[in-house]
Symmetry: C2
């Protein structure tokens, strides 16, 4: 019994690993992997969801079948779908191929769907095991789950600062606080995100490229959130050959005469206020499961306040910058007591050269 | 040959360990340990310098001798003294007891003495090996070495901040940013220091005790460095039953009429300016090998600038405080380019609960 449990864990972990191969390409869908064993417990097929619009993991695994799956077992990290989407329902395939046991790690987070696929399988006489490697599966699809529960994109905020908490000198210079390897890591981190958000200030000041430097193809959507629309005529983000760019403005304050500065090819959307949760919601609707916030102190503060941020990535360079007017990662939350401040959870540290990289959860 | 080397390393490490037992009590002297083997290589005595005024490590080891040390070996982490101080020269003892081999880890950092003890031993026909476990010995006595080279005390600066680099809320509240275990660690860290320095602002704002909570006996000297002498009439530091307190003021700016506020029992010294290096030098003259700087941003900045700080201890709490006018660990160094900033070396991290503790070297 224990031994068979260990084998089941092994195959479920394989399914999770296969799922992770789709990282950065499946949105708005989740990452899903599937492993099929024959009735004797031999591996006969595998699959994963490689991209939105492409076959689901289960479908790919059944497509790849070389041997008879009758009375076999399938391991899948997320509840199989039971609705006709861009592709046919996976539940039907599992039933029609004569599978006898289905291991599902977690239920579909979509409340309208949750448990329905499992019920259909059970109704067809299939034995369904739910919950194996639940923690790993939740971690893998935390963005998809968050988006389904909240209708907003999962937000990760990144900043680089010195050991005294400064994100730049008082004259505004911030190139470079962290080392080359940390900066390269940021490029590769971007590859896991569907969109990258900055504010108008960062665009005007840094004129960044905001790409993964080719690690992700297509590149993440680059988003500028502006109150004024007073954006520069020339900008690296206006070149949409590298990556798509979206300008989102607060229609209550922006001067739309500036719209003509923005070249064709750049997408434009308006929102009714500068509340970043509206942006998070808009991006979720556009199919982004997760968003990387690389913004300056002002937008960082309002995004934290609005609950757009689920995870923080802090790069701490072993430097002392000082400077009375130097920037900090955030501006004012108007906290008057230590009980009111944001408490972060599960901090983890690692070194990138001499830079300290801290990951934490809000 | 290699085997005998390993044995020598073992005994030298033992001498270093014995030396470390004097931690926090030997100043202005170094920490020294000594191990004596007989002519057959058997351990016959050990000693360490337990306190200024007490016997040197070598003397204690010879005092403890149970067997004949003739033709034996002594391991000592610092060059034996050859001058008459509070106690007789150790070199004479080593010679008179008929020791044949002396292992010395590092030379006396005092340039007037360096190498003299070793020369006298060699002149007496004793084989002297220099340099074993040099790195560990230098680390152990880094404060003593620094003071001998620079005439200033070795400075360690500590601050606690949030993940966004804030040392308090904008209303000044800073209790507590870090967790209880971090605060306890600070108390025990204090036990390794001869003096603890704060500025007048910290005294007025926090009214701290600045003790090791009894871990060190006597407690470190508590030092207030003030430009104005405008210190409160009541203060926890004025109670000198717990620990000695020293007020040091800048005679060029302080108003000496405030001196009458300071009760008897508190020591008072004046300096010609507010340059913290004068304070570091004064404390070194008073027998402090090392000083713990627990000061606010203003004094921290001038102490960093003046080269008073050799090591930094940063406690980072997993919290976001924000606040435009909130304090940072340092104020302005007037850096205008990233090439000018202070670069820290050898950062090391560890966790105290969820707080991150970072040690680095300036």
């Amino acid at each position: 019994m224990i031994e068979s449990h260990i084998i089941d864990i092994k195959w479920m972990k394989r399914a999770i690993y296969l799922a992770s191969l789709g990282k950065g390409r499946t949105s708005p869908n989740p990452m899903v992997g599937a492993v099929i064993l024959d009735k004797n417990g031999n591996l006969i097929s595998e699959g994963f969801h490689s991209k939105s619009g492409m076959p689901h993991a289960e479908a790919m695994a059944f497509n790849n079948l070389k041997k008879d799956a009758r009375d076999g077992t399938i391991y899948v990290n997320l509840e199989p779908c039971c609705h006709q989407g861009k592709t046919p329902p996976c539940v039907d395939k599992i039933i029609s191929f004569g599978i006898k046991r289905v291991f599902v790690s977690i239920e579909d987070p979509d409340k309208r769907m949750s448990g329905k696929g499992i019920k259909l399988l059970k109704d067809a006489g299939i034995k369904v095991h739910l919950g194996l490697c639940k923690k790993e599966s939740k971690e893998l699809n935390k963005s998809f789950i968050h988006k389904n529960i909240t209708d907003n994109a999962y937000g990760v905020m990144k900043w680089a600062m010195s050991m005294d908490g400064r994100v730049g000198l008082k004259n505004g210079k911030s190139k470079w606080i962290t080392n080359k390897d940390s900066r390269s890591l940021v490029h590769s981190l971007r590859a896991s995100f569907d969109a990258i958000v900055i504010g108008g200030n960062t665009l005007r000041k840094d004129d960044p490229f905001l790409t993964s430097r080719g690690i992700r193809n297509p590149e993440p959507l680059r988003v500028v959130f502006t109150k004024t629309l007073n954006l520069p005529v020339k900008s690296n983000l206006w070149d949409c050959k590298l990556a798509r760019t979206l300008v989102v403005y607060d229609a209550s304050t922006a001067d739309e005469k500036f719209l003509k500065r923005i070249p064709e090819g750049v997408e434009i959307e308006k929102l009714s206020s500068d509340n970043p949760i509206l942006l998070s919601n808009l991006l979720a609707k556009k199919g982004c499961n997760n968003v990387f916030w690389e913004c300056g102190p002002k937008l960082a503060t309002s995004a934290m306040k609005a609950g757009c941020i689920q995870e923080l990535m802090t790069f701490i360079a072993p430097k002392i910058l000082g400077g009375v007017s130097s920037m900090n990662p955030f501006s004012d939350f108007e906290f008057t007591d230590m009980d009111e401040v944001f408490n972060l959870n599960e901090p983890e540290t690692s070194f990138i050269g001499n830079d300290i990289y801290v990951k934490s959860i809000t």
